[in-house]
Amino acid sequence: MPRLTRWYVKTAMLYLLVALLLGVLMQGPASPTPIPVVAWPTYLHLLVVGWLTQLIFGIAFWLFPRYSSERPRGNEGLGWAGYGFLNVGLLLRVLGERLPAPGASAGWLLVASAVAQLIAGWAFVVAIWPRVKER
């Protein structure tokens, strides 16, 4: 299993754990504050982006057909860029949606998050596309 896949899969497992713990807190009857722990869209994206998408990216990078004998995984730099931007983007989203009142700082955090996640998704597409091929 390549190093990038290990980072993707272990990070995905951490997101799964964190998201499910937050899910418990969100359902708890004795919340000490009226402000929810995280917003529902944040919780959902921790699961579908942080866990599911990240797991798919990591496993695809490992198991898809090799690009060439010299560069079996193709452009690994793009794969690492995807990993970094995906996780920075997701954390910025958590911060931006966690701020108690929507304002300029929260807005710009969400803009940065959107750009980072967009770069991550497109980096993965560009990195994996040449490996999707008939033998």
């Binding site: 898809f64 807005g107 803009v111 967009l118 596309w129 999707v132 091929k133 008939e134």
Partner: protein, 139 residues
């Protein structure tokens, strides 16, 4: 990788790229003071990522790696191809229909196509879900 898997996975990647782009617009809109109508864009974001991205990816990879049927290879490939076309017609009809404000029957037909896609793929894959050590007759 068989040809159908290539088609499904590449289609999935196109949906991933476009679905994330729609999601990025939705997420960034408040910070950029864009007054977007989220109602048509959100269903498009969900449809592209939930069924366009993960649906095509899962079916494509399943078609590739499920056990083969001995001399019959992957079995009724035409059913799997039908699933591919029905799924993507469905995603286009549901996502596009809602985003463009088309009559509700368009999305309804799209959902029906997605359901038929699931049925076609299940009929294709059902005999392939078996023990690889067992003879073909012992499914």
């Amino acid at each position: 990788m068989p040809r159908l898997t290539v088609w499904m996975v590449r289609t999935a990647l196109l949906y991933l790229g476009s679905g994330i782009a729609v999601g990025a617009v939705l997420l960034a809109a408040p910070g950029l003071s864009l007054r977007l109508e989220a109602r048509p864009l959100r269903p498009l974001h969900i449809e592209f990522l939930l069924l366009g991205w993960t649906g095509n990816l899962v079916l494509g990879v399943a078609f590739w790696i499920l056990p083969r049927l001995g001399s019959e290879g992957r079995g009724h490939e035409s059913l799997a191809w039908a699933a591919y076309w029905l799924l993507n017609l469905g995603v286009a009809a549901v996502g596009g229909g809602q985003a463009l404000g088309l009559p509700g029957n368009v999305a309804l037909l799209g959902r029906a196509a997605e359901g038929l896609a699931a049925a076609a793929f299940a009929c294709h894959a059902w005999p392939r879900v078996r023990s690889v050590s067992a003879p073909h007759s012992e499914r």
